[in-house]
Symmetry: C2
Subunit: 240 residues, 2 copies
């Protein structure tokens, strides 16, 4: 793990870019004498780690006393894409513009993306946990499909916050019952591209004994800011 | 409004019993130099104001810096019941034990209860707002059907927190679209007596532009304690 740049933000948080082999990542750490818990943060559908809403959320979460890390996993963000991937994405754009059903295209795009991304997130987690400024336990925040697979296969994930606004492949809808950590599912009630009933069914399917759904009126990008604060308190209950 | 008894609780909150004509009530006020906002708190289906879970919630909410008031409105709690009311309640118990449908019995019981209770809550609100220790604005917490009718007819209600675990008569299901204040609806995902879909439909029906649903796994009385704290922050956003 090599740090390639760093900047100290106004509130004392250290923001560092790193690479781990081919994986580019960003790590935010608060000023703290003791090692802090860690939250892995990912965008639904593999959106770039530099996306401003993710960065704002990561910085704010770090200010609550967490190390926060994100990566562009294989095929995600600005990582190179295979010709096959490019073709599926072109087909997705065409189908969306034509108003055609897109579920099967999403399935063929997001399914493999999750399968390839999870090992890189685990490798990153291995490396992060060797840093002296990071202790345990480990939480997860964001991309639902990735987080389901990660929490199902990696027992180090102790609590998970998911945003329902993303496509969840069949494999992860099945796998949801294997997720048993405390979880918070965030739903935008009128999310244009993500049917409400699927999110409610997913919430029902999770195996966790402690699970909470927060739904707010509005479209995909309308999540109210107070949900970041509510998320912080959710992690505080389980990671501190 | 006559105070009939008072006790100072360990955390400095003053708990006073009062009567207002035939209406018995309880008022909790925190130690505060300035007048505080007020939250009216009622139990679903007209359960008694002295019910321990309501009292615990009221005391805790007062500790956040709110005056909290509850009453036994006409026909509710320990207030005298008409022979007709007693008959409907006996029929309800019989039908529940026999496993028969109870919706129409609840309709004939709760519908009139809400109609008769709301004027008494408004009279109580008039009196409470004359007390020097209480300022505005006014929030509402608890019994959904009562709160819908109250918020629809009384513009002094500025924010409402509802608990979905109670029967909502047809008139209030219709009236929900006239409720436009910020609201928080609390749902127990596996509430034995209250179908989940009705609560989701009700959430959808409210006219409020800012509305949030919190759902937690578990049965009717299993609401996690952190929801009282979340409720406190909801009121803080809108009443302070």
């Amino acid at each position: 793990m090599q740090f390639t740049s760093e900047q100290r933000l106004d509130d004392g948080i250290l923001e560092r870019e790193f690479t781990l082999g081919e994986i580019p990542g960003t790590l935010w750490t608060p000023e703290s004498a003791a090692p802090t818990p860690l939250i892995l943060m990912a965008h639904n559908n593999g959106l770039p780690k530099a996306q401003p809403r993710l960065v704002a959320r990561a910085r704010h979460t770090a200010s609550y006393g967490y190390a926060v890390a994100t990566i562009d996993a294989a095929g995600c963000g600005d990582r190179p894409r295979s010709a096959a991937d490019e073709q599926v994405r072109a087909e997705l754009r065409r189908a969306m513009q034509a108003g055609e059903p897109v579920d099967e295209i999403f399935e063929s795009l997001i399914g493999p993306l999750v399968e390839k991304a999870v090992p890189e997130w685990r490798t990153t987690l291995d490396a992060l946990l060797t840093l002296p400024e990071i202790g345990g336990p480990v939480g997860y925040s964001g991309w639902t499909a990735l987080g389901i697979h990660l929490a199902a296969v990696d027992p180090r994930i102790a609590a998970a916050g998911f945003f329902a606004g993303g496509f969840v492949p069949r494999a992860q809808r099945e796998e949801a019952r294997q997720v048993t950590v405390p979880l918070l599912l965030l739903l935008q009630w009128d999310d244009e591209g993500n049917p409400r009933q699927r999110a409610l069914d997913l919430f029902d399917a999770f195996g966790s004994k402690e699970k909470t759904l927060h739904a707010n009126l509005g479209g995909h990008v309308g999540t109210p800011w107070f949900e970041v604060e509510d998320g912080g308190r959710f992690y505080d209950r389980h990671l501190k």
